[in-house]
C-alpha cells in the first residue's frame, strides 16, 4: 500500500510534467527537477527528449531487467512515436558477450563490465576505442522474507543474517537473534530455522552474497557468485519458488526481490548499526543517494556497491540489486548514438516512476542527474 501511495503522488507529477513538456525538438534537455519540490528524493518525472535515430534499437542481457525494460520501451514508444527497441532477456553474460561482439546496440547486465574477465578491454574494441559506460537504471531491493507463526516484526542485522544463511544460527530462539535491537519484545519461538535459497543461478543470490561479504565479512567468508554458497537449507527454483516454499514452511527465511515478498511472507527490517530499517522505496533511495561510484567524476556510473552494503546511514536500506545498461560512450554510427541517447533519457525520466509498481525503486534525483548527464555525453 505504501508503494501505491508513493506512486499516486508521483503519477500526478508525471502527468503534470507530461502536459507541460511537449515532445520537443529542442536539443537541450530541460532540467525539470525544480517542479519536484514536494518529493525530495524522487527523480524528476519527465525531460525533453531528442527523438529519432536508429529504429528499432537492439539490446540484450539481464532477465532481471526484463520487466523494467518493457516499461522503458513502452514509455520510449509513447514519447518518441515510431521509435522501437527489441530487448532479448537472455541473461547478463550473454548480453555482454553480444554487445562486445557488436551484435546489439547496448547490453543489460546485473553487474558492471569486469576488467578481470577482459570485458572492459573487449568493450573498448567494440566501441572503436572509446570506453563503454555502465549506467545504473534499474534498482531493485532484496527483501529478507520470512514466515514464523506469531512473529510479525523481525529485525536482523548483517552478522545475524550471515550466521543464519551459513548455518551458524539454527533456531529462532537463539540469543543472537534476540539480541538484535528491535527484537527485545518479539516472542521468538523455539523453532528450527529453514533457510531457503535460489537453486538456479541468479543475480539476486550474487548480490545477496556480496552484501553479506561486505557487511559481515567476519562471518560470511564464502564469497559471492551466482550460486548460493551458504551450505545450509534447501534450494527452490526462481523467485516464485523460494517464496512459495517459505509460505509453506513455518520457520523459513529467504532472500528475494522485494516485489515477490508479499501475501503470506513478511519482510524483515535490516539494522546496519543505527536501528532497524524497513524496506520502503524511500529508504532504498536513501541508500542510493549516498552511493559512491567506482570511478568518481567520470561518466561511467558503475556503483561501488561494497560502500553501499557496508554503510550505516540511518534510515537507509542497503540490501539492493542494481542492474546496468552498458553503452558505448561513442558509437561509430551517429544514428545509433542518437537513438540510444533518446532511449536512455526516457528510461531515466518517464521510465522510472512506473517501476515502483513492479517492485523496483526509481533512481533518486542525484543519480538520475548523473545518468542524464552521461546519456547526453554519448556521441
Amino acid at each position: 500500500m505504501k508503494i501505491m501511495r508513493h506512486v499516486g503522488t508521483a503519477g500526478i507529477a508525471v502527468g503534470a510534467a507530461a502536459v507541460l513538456v511537449a515532445c520537443g525538438t529542442d536539443p537541450e534537455a530541460v532540467d525539470t527537477s525544480g517542479r519536484q519540490a514536494g518529493a525530495a528524493a524522487a527523480p524528476s518525472a519527465a525531460a525533453q527528449v531528442e527523438c529519432g535515430g536508429k529504429s528499432p534499437l537492439s539490446a540484450e542481457g539481464s532477465s532481471a531487467q526484463k520487466t523494467a525494460m518493457d516499461i522503458f520501451v513502452q514509455q520510449y514508444g509513447r514519447k518518441c512515436s515510431g521509435q522501437r527497441l527489441n530487448y532479448n532477456a537472455s541473461g547478463s553474460g550473454a548480453g555482454v558477450k553480444q554487445f562486445n561482439n557488436g551484435q546489439v546496440d547496448f547490453a543489460g547486465s546485473d553487474s558492471p563490465l569486469s576488467a578481470d574477465k577482459g570485458e572492459v578491454e573487449a568493450a573498448k574494441q567494440r566501441c572503436a576505442g572509446a570506453e563503454a559506460w555502465n549506467l545504473p537504471l534499474v534498482v531493485g531491493p532484496i527483501a529478507l522474507a520470512y514466515n514464523i507463526a506469531g512473529v510479525d516484526n523481525l529485525t536482523l542485522d548483517a552478522e545475524v543474517t550471515a550466521k543464519i544463511f551459513s548455518g551458524g544460527i539454527k533456531n529462532w530462539n537463539d540469543p543472537a537473534v534476540k539480541a538484535v535491537k528491535g527484537n527485545e519484545s518479539v516472542n521468538l519461538p523455539d523453532r528450527p530455522i529453514q533457510v531457503v535459497f535460489r537453486s538456479d543461478e541468479s543475480g539476486t543470490t550474487d548480490n545477496f552474497q556480496k552484501y553479506l561479504s561486505a557487511a559481515a565479512k567476519d562471518v560470511w567468508t564464502q564469497g559471492d557468485g551466482k550460486a548460493f554458497k551458504g551450505g545450509v537449507g534447501n534450494g527452490a527454483d526462481k523467485s516464485n519458488g523460494v517464496v512459495e516454499t517459505v509460505k509453506g514452511a513455518d520457520g523459513a527465511i529467504t532472500y528475494v526481490e522485494s516485489s515477490f515478498a508479499k501475501d503470506g511472507v513478511k519482510t524483515a527490517k535490516l539494522d546496519s548499526g543505527s536501528g532497524g530499517v524497513e524496506l520502503t522505496p524511500e529508504n532504498v533511495a536513501k541508500s542510493l543517494d549516498s552511493a559512491a561510484f567506482k570511478s568518481e567524476g567520470s561518466n561511467d556510473l558503475a556503483l561501488d556497491l561494497d560502500a553501499i552494503y557496508g554503510s550505516n546511514i540511518p534510515r537507509a536500506y542497503p540490501l539492493l540489486l542494481a542492474t546496468y545498461e552498458i553503452v558505448c560512450s561513442k558509437y561509430s554510427d551517429p544514428e545509433v548514438a542518437k537513438a540510444v541517447k533518446g532511449f536512455l533519457t526516457v528510461a531515466a525520466t518517464d521510465g522510472q516512476q512506473p517501476l515502483a509498481e513492479k517492485g523496483f525503486v526509481p533512481i533518486p534525483q542525484g543519480l538520475q542527474e548523473k545518468v542524464l548527464a552521461s546519456a547526453k555525453a554519448i556521441a
Partner: protein, 361 residues
C-alpha cells in the same frame, strides 16, 4: 464387432502418439497391431494389399517415404548422441572430480570444474520409480475398468478424459503440485514419514522439516502425468484380447475376474509392460514440473523418498538460462548424455522383458 473396432481405433491414436517420439519402445504396440491385421475379422482389405502383382509408382513412393521416415528418426537420434558427446568432451576433460561417482556440482569457475552425476542419477531414478509404483497399478485398474467393466457408453468419453490429461502442459502439473497438491498431501506425507521412518526409503529426508518439495511429492505428480500414457496403451492392448478366448473362458464357467486373470492379463501383459516402460521414459525426462516442485538440499541424496534433489532434466532446466560458457555448459550436456544412455538402457531391458513374455504366449 468390426465396426466397433474401427471406430475405436482413432480414439486410441492420441495415446499412441508418444510412441512415435520414442521409437525404441514402439515395438510391442505395433506388433500387436500387426497380429490384429492378420486376423480375418479385421476386414479392411486396403491394409492387406500389396502382397503381389506389379509394383505401382504409388507403392514405390510410399515405400520410400516410410523408409525415409524410419531412417530419419534413427539418424536424428544418432546425431543427437554425437552432438552430446562432442559438446561434453571438453568439459569432461576439464573435470576435476569423478564424473560418475562424485556428488559435487560446481561449474561456475571454468578453471576448476567439479561435477559428478551420482546424486542426479539417484534422484532421477528415485522420482521415476515412485511415479511408476503409483501409476502402474492405477493405470492397470483404469484400463481394465474401461475395457471390461464400464458400459460402452461410458468407456469412450472416459477414455477421452484420460487422454486429455496428456494434453495438460507439464508446467501446469508442476504449479498444481507446488501450490495445491503438496500442501494438501502434507498431513499424509508426515504420517507416512513418521510411521515408517524405520524403513530407509521412508526415513527423515535431507530437506526436513520441509516435506513438500520431496521426491515423494514429485513422484505423485509424475504419476498423474504418466497415467494417460500407460492407460491408453494398455487399454488398446486389452481391447484386442481375442474374443474366442474370452468366450471360451466364459463357457467354462469363469467369473468376470477369472476371465480377466486367464485371458486379458496374459494376453496384454507384454503391452502393459511396454506401456509402463514408455511411461518410465517420460518420467526420466520430465523437466519443468520437477524443477518447480523439488527442493534442492544442501546435502546429498541418501535414499529416502522424503529427500529433495535435482534430476538430470530439472538440473539442466534450472541452470540453462545462465549458460554463457561452452565448457560449463558441457558439464550439463554430459549429464544429459547420461540421461540419454539411461533411457536407452531402460528401453533395452524393457524390450528384453517383453521379448521373453512373447515367447511364453
Amino acid at each position: 464387432m468390426t465396426e466397433q473396432r474401427s471406430q475405436r481405433t482413432p480414439a486410441g491414436s492420441p495415446g499412441e502418439r508418444p510412441s512415435s517420439r520414442e521409437p525404441v519402445a514402439e515395438g510391442p504396440i505395433s506388433e500387436q497391431t500387426a497380429d490384429e491385421a492378420d486376423r480375418p475379422e479385421k476386414g479392411g482389405g486396403g491394409l492387406a494389399s500389396g502382397a503381389s502383382g506389379p509394383v505401382r509408382p504409388g507403392d514405390r513412393i510410399f515405400r520410400y517415404l516410410t523408409t525415409g521416415a524410419g531412417v530419419f528418426v534413427v539418424a536424428l537420434i544418432g546425431l543427437i548422441g554425437v552432438f552430446l558427446v562432442v559438446q561434453a568432451i571438453p568439459a569432461l576433460n576439464a573435470n576435476q572430480v569423478s564424473f560418475l561417482f562424485s556428488r559435487e556440482w560446481s561449474t561456475g569457475d571454468t578453471g576448476d570444474l567439479r561435477f559428478g552425476i551420482l546424486d542426479l542419477l539417484l534422484v532421477t531414478v528415485a522420482t521415476s520409480l515412485v511415479a511408476l509404483v503409483i501409476a502402474m497399478p492405477v493405470s492397470l485398474g483404469i484400463a481394465l475398468f474401461l475395457t471390461q467393466y464400464a458400459p460402452r457408453s461410458l468407456a469412450r468419453p472416459f477414455a477421452y478424459v484420460i487422454d486429455l490429461l496428456a494434453a495438460v502442459p507439464s508446467i501446469i502439473f508442476g504449479l498444481w503440485g507446488l501450490l495445491v497438491l503438496a500442501p494438501t498431501m502434507e498431513p499424509f506425507s508426515v504420517w507416512l514419514n513418521e510411521t515408517f521412518s524405520w524403513i530407509p526409503i521412508f526415513a527423515i529426508g535431507n530437506i526436513a522439516p520441509n516435506i513438500r518439495g520431496s521426491i515423494f511429492t514429485a513422484g505423485v505428480v509424475l504419476a498423474v502425468m504418466l497415467l494417460p500414457i500407460i492407460t491408453s496403451l494398455t487399454r488398446e492392448v486389452f481391447e484386442r484380447t481375442p474374443t474366442p478366448q474370452v468366450e471360451g473362458a466364459l463357457a467354462l464357467g469363469a467369473t468376470r475376474w477369472e476371465v480377466i486373470r486367464m485371458t486379458v492379463l496374459p494376453f496384454g501383459k507384454a503391452g502393459y509392460v511396454g506401456a509402463s516402460m514408455l511411461g518410465l521414459g517420460r518420467a526420466l525426462g520430465e523437466t519443468i514440473a520437477l524443477t518447480v516442485i523439488l527442493l534442492i538440499p544442501s546435502g546429498g541424496f541418501d535414499g529416502s523418498i522424503f529427500d529433495g534433489g535435482a534430476t538430470f532434466a530439472s538440473k539442466i532446466a534450472s541452470d540453462a538460462s545462465e549458460f554463457n560458457d561452452p565448457t560449463s555448459a558441457g558439464a550439463y550436456i554430459a549429464a544429459g548424455l547420461v540421461l540419454f544412455v539411461l533411457t536407452f538402457v531402460v528401453n533395452f531391458f524393457a524390450r528384453a522383458v517383453i521379448g521373453d513374455k512373447k515367447g511364453d504366449r
